[in-house]
């Protein structure tokens, strides 16, 4: 097991390198000149010499492969480089990533409680009112795009009712840090949570139903074990193993989903930074933020493998 984990971790390094190269190459293939996002055609025309000096100073005249390896070398020395607007990417990540982790973390936590809770109740009370309502909501939650949910929530709760802010993470006039955080996080967290709850609810319901119909549950019941004990001790624990795996597997999707949600809510996390960087052709930021999302994906995939092995004795990693 230990060997397997070390091997997996070591394998992530070449995978990240390959991903970084592909992203770098892909960005170059778009043929978009970052300078054209920094200055207007009028400035480009009137100020050609200075713009050319700027292009040279940013290293944009070098061949793609030279630019890539220069970037990679700097990264290996712990320097993530600078965005085209002159900000250290390290400081951008340090400032923005906690916001995204905060958003994804709360969404994961709340959706796990609500999704699993409703899923379990739906399975126990199969074909009851909660089950029907839950199933309809699950279909809706998965069918409606998250950005649309976000826009609708903004229109209702921020614009019409004025209960929550429509943008940002911090208010200048906040009296309480906790209340300020609650008000700013409520709508984006709710948006991410709705989609996530729908998935977890359906999955928890189905696995719980499978478990409840299994032979060992029938045996437990026939032995006269109280029903609540059957649900909690025998069914719930076993049903949760695959749900936990799904939960971990959804983390990258939460981080990826935040790209859209942060833009909708002007929430200053990695996602918004990435969107703005794409809009303004800021390759260095696009590259690093894409790599972060890829790294989260790889780590979670690895965690799923290990979790599977831990939860299911039949799985033997590395054998």
């Amino acid at each position: 097991m230990f060997k397997y984990i070390v091997k997996k971790i070591l394998m992530m390094i070449p995978m990240l390198l390959v991903i970084s190269f592909l992203v770098y190459y892909g960005l170059q293939l778009t043929g978009v000149d970052p300078i054209n996002f920094m200055v207007s055609p009028e400035t480009l025309s009137a100020n050609a010499d200075n713009v050319e000096a700027l292009r040279e100073s940013l290293g944009l005249n070098d061949p793609m492969i030279v630019q890539y390896f220069r970037w990679l070398g700097n990264c290996l020395r712990g320097d993530l480089g600078y965005s085209f607007d002159g900000t250290s990417i390290g400081s951008i990540i340090a400032t923005r990533l906690p916001y995204t982790i905060e958003l994804a973390g709360y969404s994961l936590f709340i959706s796990a409680i609500i999704g699993i809770g409703i899923g379990i109740i739906s399975a126990i009370r199969q074909n009851g009112i909660i089950d029907y309502v839950g199933r309809v909501l699950a279909v809706l939650g998965q069918a409606v795009p998250q950005f649309l949910v976000g826009i609708i929530l903004i229109q209702i709760f921020a614009v019409k009712l004025g209960w929550f802010p429509s943008a940002n993470r911090v208010s200048p006039d906040a009296q309480s840090v906790v209340a300020d955080a609650f008000f700013h996080l409520f709508l984006p967290v709710l948006t991410l949570t709705i989609g996530m709850v729908a998935v977890l609810m359906r999955y928890a319901r189905n696995t719980m139903l499978d478990v409840l119909n299994s032979d060992y549950i029938k045996t437990a019941r026939s032995k006269g074990i109280p029903e609540w004990k059957v649900y909690i001790k025998h069914a719930f624990r076993n049903a949760m193993k695959p749900v936990l795996v799904i939960l971990v597997f959804r983390i990258p999707m939460l981080v990826g989903g935040s790209v859209v949600i942060e833009s909708v809510f002007s929430y200053p996390g990695i996602g918004l930074t990435m969107t703005n960087a794409i809009t303004s052709g800021d390759y260095p930021i696009v590259l690093v933020t894409t790599l972060i999302i890829a790294a989260v994906m790889l780590i979670c995939s690895f965690m799923v493998d290990v979790l599977n092995a831990l939860l299911d004795p039949r799985v033997r990693l590395g054998e």
Partner: protein, 526 residues
């Protein structure tokens, strides 16, 4: 072993969630100094949009590219313009003199000017700013075009002398936009990266306001500048939020002043009963350009045929296209129709004549006319679809391409026949300088025709209104004869102010991308 790994995994997951909970603190570290929170009563709220890539949310918008309301409140110029941007009065300057031949400007600064950090604002700051702008890359082209005519700058006490190599008619108007920056804060910064320097996270300012707090990704707030020598503004505090779009910010009451010209924007803002609309005529041209040079400059014989270009323009009903925009005015040259210098010529929409002309031109009708455009808003897409329909009505085949890098595609790759683009001009002169045979971009598609050069040179130099009128008439005749580019219309901008704001009676707004006197000191907010 499995248990240990399970504990480790759970710990990792918990740590991730805990890190999330600690996000606020980490984010605070990214900002600057925090002052005591205050209520928003009497606070002017602005919105800075980052969704279009024109501003970043980690620093204050810089004033050397586009001016914004927030930067106008922080940075001053030697002069300040009126709403037409064609007349100025002293601001940092106390007085000025221009020699009769326009070759020398002598400008005297006001006494006892100070920066927000208490340092003296001197003539050296003015000279430093102009010299730095000459070496900078990301500055508005109006400064580059004006300052390249300066031969020398000198100072004596608080007097600045600017000597010119050639007169530049717009010099005072340009100086009315050019923000003076503090030499003592920026003299060690490379001019090429001046707009990205850390200075913009804690700028030293000369205007009514100074930075109070910058909260990266969220907002920045301004407080009154104690060292401002003029009348203190009524509004004690200004907050500018970084937002993705103006409309949502306005709908949720977080923007007391917004502007725009898009159909969607105007429609949404007009629906808000708590906003007052102010219509502004600006020189924002929407126009067609013909690519005479072809792909990679290998000549485009089809568009070099004057009759083909004439037929295409006759086939396009520009008045119909103008209805797609809320405040569009059809025009027939770079000179607006109401301008005294307008020569009265009109491009006529005539589908039948267009059919005859395209037939007479010998154009190969199996060859599609390629249209390139780069604005991806729905109005632009609708407009191009309408143009396609109109051209197909005269029997032409068409292909339209939405470019994601307009500058490269229009001026370097050049794989198109007709380009559709926009241009926000400071003055009419800017429209015509695109015809210069030396223009680094337009010469690539117009072919470097020298026919315009002499008249344009005279236009940029003369300050005499009669002479300007005559030159403009000549240039209009020339551009209508050559038809390298054809204006469709100008799009007016709408400024919206919320009903929380009380404006002085006689205030007039100018193009919001520039600075003019809006008597801000007298503004009040409920």
């Amino acid at each position: 072993m499995k248990k240990k790994i399970a504990v480790l995994l759970i710990a990792a997951l918990t740590a991730t969630l805990m890190a999330g909970c600690g996000g606020k603190k980490g984010a605070d570290d990214g900002g600057s100094t925090k002052t005591a929170a205050s209520g928003t009563s009497g606070v002017l709220e602005l919105a800075i949009t980052t969704g279009d890539g024109s501003s970043t949310d980690d620093k204050i918008p810089t004033p050397w590219y586009n001016r914004t309301m927030a930067t106008n409140l922080m940075f001053r110029s030697l002069f300040i313009a009126d709403d037409t941007l064609t007349s100025v009065k002293p601001d940092l300057a106390d007085s000025y003199e221009m020699s009769e031949d326009g070759m020398k400007y002598t400008i005297t600064l006001k006494d006892n000017l100070k920066w927000s950090d208490g340092e003296a604002l001197t003539a050296d700051d003015v000279v430093f700013s102009i010299e730095t702008a000459q070496k900078a890359a990301t500055v508005n082209s109006i400064y580059t075009a004006a300052f390249k005519n300066i031969s020398s700058l000198s100072t004596a006490d608080n007097v600045i002398t600017i000597d010119m190599t050639t007169p530049y008619a717009d010099m005072l108007n340009v100086l009315g936009q050019f923000a003076i920056l503090p030499k003592h804060s920026l003299e060690k910064v490379d001019p090429l990266s001046i707009d990205t320097d850390a200075f913009w996270t804690a700028p030293v300012t000369s205007g009514m306001y100074a930075l109070d707090e910058l909260k990266v990704g969220n907002y920045f707030s301004l407080k009154q500048n104690e060292n401002y020598e003029g009348t203190a503004p009524e509004i004690k505090k200004v907050i500018a939020y970084f937002v993705s779009d103006y409309v949502t910010a306005a709908q949720s009451g977080k923007a007391d002043y917004v502007f725009g010209n898009g159909a969607d924007f105007v429609e949404a803002m007009d629906d808000l009963s708590n906003y007052d609309a102010h219509k502004i005529d600006v020189l924002f041209y929407k126009y067609f350009i013909f690519n005479m040079k072809g792909i990679d400059g290998n000549e485009n014989e089809a568009m070099q045929n004057e009759t083909v270009r004439k037929a295409i323009i006759e086939a396009i009903d520009r008045a119909t296209l103008a209805t797609l925009y809320p405040n569009a005015t059809v025009l027939n040259s770079g000179v607006p129709n109401e301008n005294k210098a307008y020569n009265g010529f009109e491009y006529k929409y005539d589908e039948e004549q267009a059919k005859k002309d395209i037939e007479a031109s010998g154009y190969d009708m199996s060859r599609p006319v390629r249209i390139c455009y780069y604005n991806n808003d729905q109005t632009s897409i609708d407009l191009i679809n309408t143009v396609v329909y109109m051209l197909e009505n005269i029997g032409l085949k068409t292909e339209s391409t939405l470019s994601n890098d307009g500058t490269t595609d229009l001026f370097t790759t050049r794989n198109y026949d007709i380009g559709f683009k926009g241009k926000s001009s400071f003055s009419v002169n800017e429209w015509y300088t695109e015809y210069m045979s030396t223009d680094a971009l337009f010469a690539n598609i117009f072919g470097g025709d020298t026919a315009f050069d002499e008249e344009i040179a005279k236009l940029t130099q003369t300050g005499d209104p009669k002479e300007q009128e005559e030159i403009l008439t000549n240039l209009q005749n020339l551009e209508q004869e050559k038809m390298y580019k054809v204006p469709a219309f100008t799009v007016g901008t709408m400024v919206y102010t919320s009903d929380k704001v009380t404006l002085p009676d006689d205030v007039k707004f100018c193009n919001p991308l520039y600075n003019c006197d809006v008597d801000f000191a007298a503004w009040t907010v409920k």
